[in-house]
Symmetry: C2
Subunit: 610 residues, 2 copies
């Protein structure tokens, strides 16, 4: 989600209104609009067959308005969706979904697809917007084949579909629709490499809008530019080197041109890449001019409030980097989510490396930087770091490469099931040789960041909290890697709170003493890769129960380790955190209720067991 919206919203709103002047005046309260007279009649893709080219063009305008309407109301991916309106209309006009399989890579660009497959209500009816997600989802429609949200998988999925079709004796088309940015992920290459050897129908639409989330990064983009410049005729052709048949469509926002191209490749008997040149943000001037900011935007009127960890991180990094020329900031194609603003990038110059959307390379590159004597700090979201699990194990941990990994967007949130940040406690915390830290306060975070950058003997993961809480000035040293801190000495029950759950522990303590007369011990744990065994075993004295708190899934997480270590003692242990489940856009309020991560429920549980 863009962090820049707060700054640019006034400009954006003004310009959106210029371009899509009608969209917020033509609607009544019922959520059915006069201006959407073609779109409102589309119940499925085959309704496109009867429309003239002129009507399809008008439909594109209506779809574009509806995209803006939804994004303004609930936020979402703006630029990518605006860019593929025509391509999606042409796809559904030419191919016969769901008989023909159309797989959208990452699927953040599927809004038009959703509108053409019976879900336009999720765009033009504000009261129904929460009925659909911003990604493909088979539970919503037979036209959606997968839940996707991480990049670069569509060609692999299409390979599976194509092979299954062939061995089952079926004959439909298989189409992967993938953006140029998504091609920087290695799995897309793996899919290209494998699919190029297939002797069967497999159509890869390369949606080249000349952008990733930020700028494209990588050598292949020079070739794409050459292909665009030559109308696809350059002898130097990335796809041809795999053996692919290839076709180029210069105006990827022309429905007529796209229909012609897609009709030519429909039912083809071999793999082909159809390279279409589209305009990201098409039709909304602000989005066309501010492609990175417009990639993903928050709901109109929403703005970040208060102090953020991304701002704290930027400020500290600027100080550190001014003093130490060996520090390098690494990111894998998602600067916005990690707070890497344009200003920050400009300030650190060539010590910022965006490697493209390829977390594996980002981690191994960081390992190389570290072993080469630089001090890398890799900014990444929890959900994306999991794409580099093997590199964490092999290149960071086994090699003890002194890199710092800052994990953002970790913990419970109301995000899509494809982007959960609740698994990293397990997939980082159980790796040998990896020091994993969970600060409770901003001061601890800064102390940990300083320590991690300055030491040169091991990799460190810092799980950046969501909400800024201030505490007293903090220092961090080697000894703190396996040290918990007693914040309050009580009796009977000890609350062991990992990182930012310390705040909850305080509230539970208040509730316990007020309602049940129990004064618990409160322990702050700021590491989840090692336990303070001495402190834990000392709890046998004066306590009967240990309660652990963590903001991630319990399975493989922090509390289980405490339970194991204390298993030999008479102490009872209750672990609080998330269940092993995929939650899809469930509010944190509801999650906290579900997991009893609330003062009342948790205090009641404790009182009951005591």
């Amino acid at each position: 989600m863009s962090l820049f919206f707060g700054n640019s919203s006034s400009v954006r709103t003004k310009e959106l209104e210029c371009v899509t002047l009608a969209y917020d005046t033509c609607w009544g309260d019922t959520g059915v609009a006069m201006a959407y007279d073609i779109l409102a009649r589309i119940t499925g893709p085959r309704d496109l067959d009867a429309l003239s080219l002129g009507e399809l063009d008008r439909l594109a305008g209506e779809v574009r308005d509806a995209i803006v309407k939804r994004v303004d109301a609930v936020g979402g991916h703006l630029g990518s969706n605006l860019g593929v309106v025509e391509a999606t209309i042409a796809l559904h006009r030419v191919f016969d979904s769901p008989r023909d399989r159309i797989i959208f890579d990452t699927s953040h660009q599927c809004y038009t697809h959703k509108m053409l497959t019976g879900r336009a209500y999720g765009f033009f009816d504000e009261s129904r917007m929460d009925e659909i997600s911003g990604f493909t989802n088979p539970e919503e429609s037979e036209h959606d084949w997968f839940r996707c949200g991480h990049t670069s998988t569509s060609i692999s999925l299409a390979c599976g579909f194509a092979k299954a079709r062939d061995i089952l004796g079926q004959t439909h088309n298989v189409v992967a629709f993938i953006g140029d940015g998504c091609l920087s992920g290695g799995e897309a290459f793996e899919g290209l490499d494998n699919s190029a050897t297939f002797k069967t129908n497999l159509i890869i639409i390369l949606n080249d809008n000349e952008m990733s989330i930020a700028e494209d990064q990588g050598g292949i983009y020079g070739n794409f530019a050459e292909l665009r410049a030559t109308g696809g005729r350059s002898a130097r052709n990335f796809f041809s080197t795999f053996g692919f048949d290839y076709r180029y469509v210069e105006n990827g926002n022309s429905i007529a041109d796209l229909i012609e191209a897609f009709e030519q490749v429909k039912d083809i008997d071999h793999p082909i890449v159809v390279h279409i040149h589209t305009t990201k943000g098409k039709g909304v001037e602000w989005a066309e001019r501010n492609k990175e900011e417009a990639h993903s935007v928050k709901a109109k009127g929403s703005s970040p409030s208060g102090e953020t960890y991304t701002a704290i991180t930027r400020a500290r990094m600027l100080e550190k980097m001014a003093a130490d020329p060996s520090i390098v900031v690494v990111n894998a194609g998602t600067p916005g989510g990690a707070g890497i603003t344009a200003d920050f990038r400009a300030a650190i110059g060539d010590r910022y490396v965006d490697v493209g959307i390829c977390e594996q390379h980002a981690v191994t590159f960081s390992a190389g930087l570290a072993c080469g004597g630089a001090k890398p700090v890799y900014f990444v979201a929890s959900t994306f770091l999991q794409r580099a699990y093997d590199q964490i194990v092999q290149d960071l941990a086994l090699n003890q490469s002194p890199a710092t990994v800052l994990v953002f967007q970790a913990g419970f949130s109301s995000i899509d099931a494809t982007h959960l940040g609740v698994f990293d406690l397990a997939y980082t915390g159980n790796v040998p040789g990896l020091t994993c830290l969970a600060p409770a306060t901003a001061e601890q975070f800064i102390a940990m960041l300083d320590w991690s950058i300055d030491i040169a003997d091991r990799p460190v993961v810092i799980r950046v909290p969501d909400k800024v809480v201030h505490g007293r000035e903090a220092v961090f040293s080697d000894a703190d890697v396996a040290r918990f801190e007693v914040k309050h000495e009580g009796g009977d029950v000890a609350l062991v709170a990992l990182g930012p759950t310390l705040e909850l522990a305080g509230l539970v303590s208040d509730e316990l003493s007020a309602r049940y007369g129990i004064v618990p011990t409160i322990i702050s744990a700021t590491t989840y890769s090692a336990l303070d065994r001495q402190l834990l075993f000392a709890l046998e004295d004066g306590h009967r129960l240990v309660v652990t708190l963590e903001n991630g899934v319990l399975y493989g997480g922090f509390g289980e380790k405490v339970a194991r270590v204390l298993g030999r003692t008479p102490l009872r242990v209750l672990c609080y955190g998330g269940t092993k489940e995929f939650v899809d856009r469930v509010s944190t309020k509801e999650l906290n209720e579900r997991y009893h991560l609330e003062p009342e429920a948790l205090a009641a549980d404790i009182a009951e067991i005591l």
Copy 2:
């Protein structure tokens, strides 16, 4: 490690003797050989400078003999090492290691490098062979930069080195040495894509021996063939499309040609790919003719003994596949380790897909196959499956794609730290929606395999045991997914054994009753993704202690979940399994001692706590 050696050893031994006739007659017992008169004088790379081309050629012969000597004695990678003898000599002659950084991809081909950097004793002295590993290791030598063992990371590491060098104002060369097979992994592509944009020295040596472990798989190999056929002059050039400078060396086993090529690129100011054409297995006729079998071989005279799970798997899969044409076997470039023999491949024809060494694609491809109506069974080693953690989470589990994953080489072993099979209990068992099974007997394994292939509603991981133990006929049904089995009812202590550790539980039970008069309850757990809570809670009746056993790392594993669930009860819990550590070629005997996974030590622990 090759499973075929047992069958072909007589042929191999005979032919090895023809080609390297001298190697086993010229050695005395001291481990210093007359025939290695040049190699024995090499203390470091700079000793190459004084040698004439003729002497370097003779050195190559000695190195080749020493490779065979080591592989015969302790096993190892034969073909890849034989192929790069000349290239490694030329590299160390031209570049100035360790000032210049040479990074070997996967590093299984580093034997010559080790011999030229002071470690020839590990090859020609049988008594010192265990002092070195078969992979690069910074603890062994300043010429080794990373512990590597998984493919496709060298270019990413080189990028890190190059960037670190530049910001630190250094001027050395950075060289990545990568095989054609390793280029099928997506991370290699990510590294190529990123490094092609660098404006600095970065030299990528593509060692093209026309083979992966098995045959190369993927579209790019057609282009490599075209480049070979045209002496590197084809206009269609995979590397040029990234923007790389490029050079081709047809005779990659000619030291003179290689020295000339490397001298031309040394100190270059931009990234370049030097494509060298080598012969895998060079110099040993059997290895040249049997490239797949010779990739990695066991020590001379060793042979697999008794029944194996790979044979059981093949036999059952052939039966299943004969009856069901929708079953597809998937592998990612490592057929040998999973028992996918040439015979088996031939028998299942186009229902075998080797996708190249790309586990991410293999998992997502399997998800596509499954959602397309086929029944994929992905054969993979534990250490390599971790390269697809994100795909397991997103494409298998979140999408509930009904694929089967057979995890081989899981559990404790004496393997290198780069190839441990002890982390999968955590990285699969904690993923929501993934059914993870650990059979204790061959009959259970077959029942699970049948069930997994036949159901169509979820992904299943089966952790294939190492040693075949037979039990009674077994069936497996949906209800067994969260059901443990009481094998013996006792009292005071309950042993909960995951999968094949049931055998140990029996021995511990014997020890407990014989020595301490304790008759434990024995429970067989054959699932680690879900617990039989009812059974576990019922243990409160008649037991004081629960002991869990697992053949993997405890952190994030099975026992911790038991400890968490039982934390609310008065039952004490002791968990036995591996520590969170990287162990490097430590014998399973020593590991079992270290972890108290032995009847005597474990029974003593239990008796003490009771």
